[in-house]
Amino acid sequence: MSQTKAAAAASLQPDAELDITDVVCPMTFVKVKAALDDLDEGQILAVRLNDGEPVQNVPRSLKDEGHKVLKLSEAADGTYRLLVRRAPD
Amino acid sequence: MDIIVSGVKKTFAEGLTVAQLLIEEKVESPEYVTVAVNEEFVEGEAKAARILTSGDQVEFLYFMGGGR
């Protein structure tokens, strides 16, 4: 990957948004998997998730399945925003 | 000589035939048991003719007709 920082930032426009702050494990990961399944390879999903167990487990589970976690940042309201790029099948 | 019978190594005298092995192993109703030696079926009169050699793998397949 020889993308410049600017190009990388530009490519971080999510193709879909998902809020999993209203569910608990394992539905957190299940919902993210289902949302990614609706996307094409290389597309980006933005996920709003709670601190604690979801932040610890969801990014790790996504990496285990080969998806690329692009960014995880804390939002002003104490939730987190995760950007993940969908892996090929 | 050592023969693998149903996955277990056992020692027998040289010259043992498949038919004799069925008796030695006390296989019930041997006429209804499928015998395979090294993944080849040995049937009917061939059981008396087939002499086993060391290292042979013998499997007995039994009819199991239940299900309900």
Binding site: K33, A34, S61 | E59, Y62, M64, G67, R68
Partner: protein, 272 residues
Amino acid sequence: MALSDAQLERYSRNVILKEIGVKGQKKLLAGKVLIVGAGGLGAPAAMYLAAAGVGVLGLADADRVDLSNLQRQIIHATPDVGKPKVASARETIQALNPDVEVRTLEGLVQADNVLELVADYDFVIDGTDNFPAKFLINDACVLAGKPFSHAGIIRFKGQTTTWVPGQGACYRCLFVAPPPPDAVPTCRQAGVVGALAGVLGSLQAMEAVKYLTGVGQLLTGRLLTFDALSMDFRTIKVARRPNCAVCGPTPTILRPVDLQPAVCDLKAAKTA
């Protein structure tokens, strides 16, 4: 068709699995499995496949629920005694998972209906209790090119194998022809432990799930045997029989044939 929130929750343990996921769950929901015999093997197989969300479950059985069935046929309950087994099984499945469409045949699977029956399904589970029926299902599935799971149980032992077109030995490769009536005991005469039927029926359901989702290695070309007393599981590699009468290069069985004197007697008695 996207999975609903309720479906994502119901099938979450499937969806979480990397090997199954949303795509695999959709395959299960689109899958059609025929279970012949809603008894010791068919009951657990049907329940696990219903729970897994297999879209269409076909059930074929001519019998009614008998009190002596309940020791192992867990799809039926005490109030079901006297009901047709397929009706009792349908009620249990519908209560378990309304996603599943249940299709029933209350009657015998025979040479004249077996090909038509299996044609509508992706995978067949043999849960029958007699050799003529097991050979009939084998022959029909081989002739129709329909993947199926065979199993047999008796006392504390069971065995199972899976056949897929072009892959491995069929049941007739292993056993050639049914033994004469009463030459080999069935579980009616010999007894069988309910949990043993559960183990084998669950293994058959597992094969159907694997086939539908395309995951793992099926029991093709292998006979799995289980002895509950010693707790030994073995998988025996089995070769195709070069002169197999149904799956060999020059088959002599070209259509399903009834080999059921006992059942024909029963039918004659019923229609008389």
